[in-house]
Each structure stands twice: as structure tokens, then as C-alpha cells.
């Protein structure tokens, strides 16, 4: 079942293997029945950890409980998440190239009017909005991940034309990609000296430290998500040139 990959995408959507069908229906039905009984047996009086979090919210340095959980109470999760994102980016980075600059703007002759207007007007607005989301994350819904995702969306918009190109293996890009993980680990281990345990912020500076980590995380997440998108485009250009070489030979 897993050892073939259909090239025709318009084939039948279902494998005609009855055994896997029956097995999956059975397993999914069993899971569904068990969890539904568990959920129905819950009386709804349990509040989870909400009371603990609201009691300790002053200790975290921010007033938005989700940001407090993400970057203070369970900062370890966020640290590992950023590490996972970095590992994925390392796995799919396009070809190694030290010489082209980090950001390049190429003048293209054929201009798509709608696209260039979108790039001129929407992208700066998205950047401002992402900055607001990052700043508002301390006390309102928002934060580093949302801001990074918005900026990555803006970069996807920029990549729609061939005008803008980013080299993800230039030294600047490397520094920016590992920036958040480096800052996070440095602050976390430095706090062992001052506070006695990993990632325990001092009460006076916690808001500032969280904002610093979030800003670095926004930059790194933006670049990481943008590289995930442009890995498909970069490989495409590469394979086209490969094909040309092949036909010439």
C-alpha cells in the first residue's frame, strides 16, 4: 500500500483493498465509541488548570494567559517546538550557495499589474499588523506565532513574482534562522546562574525577556515558514535546469 505512488492524480480516490477498508472502519469506530463514552461520562465540573493559571498570572509578566503558558509556565515546549521547526528547515533547505546575497531584487520585464499592486500595498500593511499582533500578545490574543505566520503569508505573496529572491543559506539567513533558538537557550541557561533553575524568569524582567524572546521567535518563524514555501519553488527551477541539461546531452 505504501510502496507505490500514483503519478496520475486523477485516479480513483480509494484503494480497492477491502481488508484495509474493514480494518480502518473497525479501528476508527472503536476509537470513536470509546472516546465518546469517556467524554459523555464527564460531568463538566472540572476546570482543568485554569484556576492555577489565573492565580499565578501576575508571576508571569504578561496578562494574556495563553502567552503566559507558552513562554513562561511551559516555555520548554516552545523551545523544543522552535528546535523542531529548525530541524525541518535544515532537512528541506534548497541547494547550498554562499555567494548570492541574502535578499535580491530582480527587475522583471513583464509586470503583472494586480500582483505588483498587491505586493506594494498589502505586504507593508501585513508587516505593520504583524508588529501590532506581536506587541498585543502580552495582554490580548496574539503573539509570536501569529505574527510570524502573517509575515510568512506576506512573503508567500512576494514570492508569487520572480522579482524578489531570498537566499536561505547565506550567512545572514543562517544567523536569523537560529536566532530564536540561540537567544532562547542562552537566556534559559543564563537564568540557571541567577535564579537557580532553567527558564525561570526573574519577576522584574519577565515581561521584557518574554518580549525579547518573542521578537526573535517571530523573525525565525517567518524565515522558516518562508523557506518551507520556497523550497518547492527553488527545487522546481533546479529540476527545470536539470531537464534542460539532460536534453542537451
Amino acid at each position: 500500500m505504501f510502496n507505490k505512488l500514483d503519478i496520475e492524480y486523477d485516479g480513483p480516490p480509494v484503494d480497492k483493498s477491502a481488508l484495509s477498508l474493514i480494518a480502518s472502519v473497525l479501528v476508527a469506530g472503536l476509537l470513536l465509541a470509546v472516546t465518546i463514552t469517556i467524554v459523555l461520562s464527564d460531568k463538566g465540573h472540572n476546570t482543568g488548570l485554569a484556576t492555577v493559571i489565573t492565580q499565578n498570572i501576575e508571576l508571569s509578566g504578561v496578562t494574556n494567559p495563553v502567552t503566559a503558558v507558552l513562554l513562561n509556565f511551559r516555555a520548554y515546549d516552545t523551545l523544543l517546538e522552535i528546535a523542531v521547526l529548525l530541524v525541518v528547515v535544515l532537512a528541506i533547505l534548497p541547494t547550498r550557495d554562499h555567494h548570492t546575497p541574502f535578499f535580491k531584487r530582480i527587475e522583471v520585464n513583464k509586470q503583472n499589474l494586480v500582483l505588483s499592486a498587491l505586493q506594494c500595498w498589502i505586504a507593508p500593511a501585513v508587516v505593520i499588523f504583524a508588529g501590532y499582533l506581536l506587541w498585543a500578545g502580552a495582554h490580548q490574543p496574539g503573539g509570536a506565532f501569529q505574527a510570524g505566520a502573517l509575515l510568512a503569508g506576506a512573503s508567500v505573496l512576494l514570492f508569487q513574482s520572480d522579482t524578489y529572491q531570498i537566499n536561505y543559506t547565506s550567512p545572514i539567513a543562517r544567523v536569523l534562522l537560529v536566532l530564536s533558538l540561540g537567544v532562547f537557550i542562552t537566556i534559559g541557561t543564563a537564568l540557571i546562574w541567577f535564579e537557580g533553575s532553567l527558564l525561570t524568569y526573574p519577576l522584574a524582567f519577565s515581561g521584557l525577556l518574554i518580549l525579547l524572546i518573542e521578537t526573535c521567535a517571530t523573525v525565525s518563524i517567518t524565515l522558516a515558514l518562508a523557506s518551507l514555501y520556497s523550497s518547492f519553488i527553488a527545487n522546481e527551477n533546479l529540476s527545470i535546469t536539470d531537464n534542460k541539461h539532460r536534453t542537451i546531452e
Binding site: 492524480y9 472502519v25 476508527a28 521547526l85 518551507l228 518547492f232
Partner: protein, 98 residues
């Protein structure tokens, strides 16, 4: 029966649909989409259970889901890259056999 329970069951149903799709679908891209549908179902289940008490919203599952969304998109990107790579190898080997 509150609306949160309603949503949590919908999340479970989405998970079941996704699981069914992962096993049964023929194309690898359909399998990846089914994995993502499974993920949406799990996130929905967690968020609905965070609100099972109608007066209190538990922020801890929200933080977990926020982490999970980013991990899910990273995993999807990796899977899609592998799929494209396999497809190209497949195609070039077919061209060679011709």
C-alpha cells in the same frame, strides 16, 4: 449536553474521517491531506474539552494546540517535499526505462 461536547464529538468524527482516509486513500497527497484532517480533529477535540465547563476557559490546551499547529505545518512541508522527491525519481526512472 453543552455545545462544547457537541464540538468535541465533531472533532472525534473528523479524526475518524482522517484516519479512514490515511488507510484507504490511494494517492500520497490524499494521505497527507488526511493526516491534516486528523490534526484538525484532534485540535478541535482539545479546544472543545478546554471549554467543557461553560464558565471557565482553560488556556493550557490552547497553548498546546498553538504549538501543534506550527509542528503540523512543518511536518506537512517535510512530507510534501519527500513526495515531490519520490515523484521525480519515479518519473526519471520511467523515462530511462523507455
Amino acid at each position: 449536553m453543552t455545545s462544547a461536547l457537541f464540538y468535541s464529538m465533531a472533532g472525534l468524527a473528523l479524526f475518524a474521517i482522517g484516519f479512514f482516509g490515511v488507510v484507504v486513500a490511494s494517492h500520497v497527497m490524499r494521505k497527507i491531506l488526511a493526516l491534516n484532517v486528523m490534526g484538525v480533529g484532534i485540535f478541535m477535540f482539545l479546544i472543545a474539552l478546554a471549554k467543557r465547563n461553560p464558565l471557565v476557559v482553560d488556556p493550557l490546551p490552547h497553548a498546546l494546540v498553538l504549538t501543534g499547529i506550527v509542528i503540523a505545518v512543518a511536518g506537512t512541508a517535510l512530507a510534501l517535499n519527500l513526495m515531490v522527491r519520490i515523484h521525480h525519481i519515479d518519473q526519471s526512472s520511467q523515462e530511462q526505462s523507455k
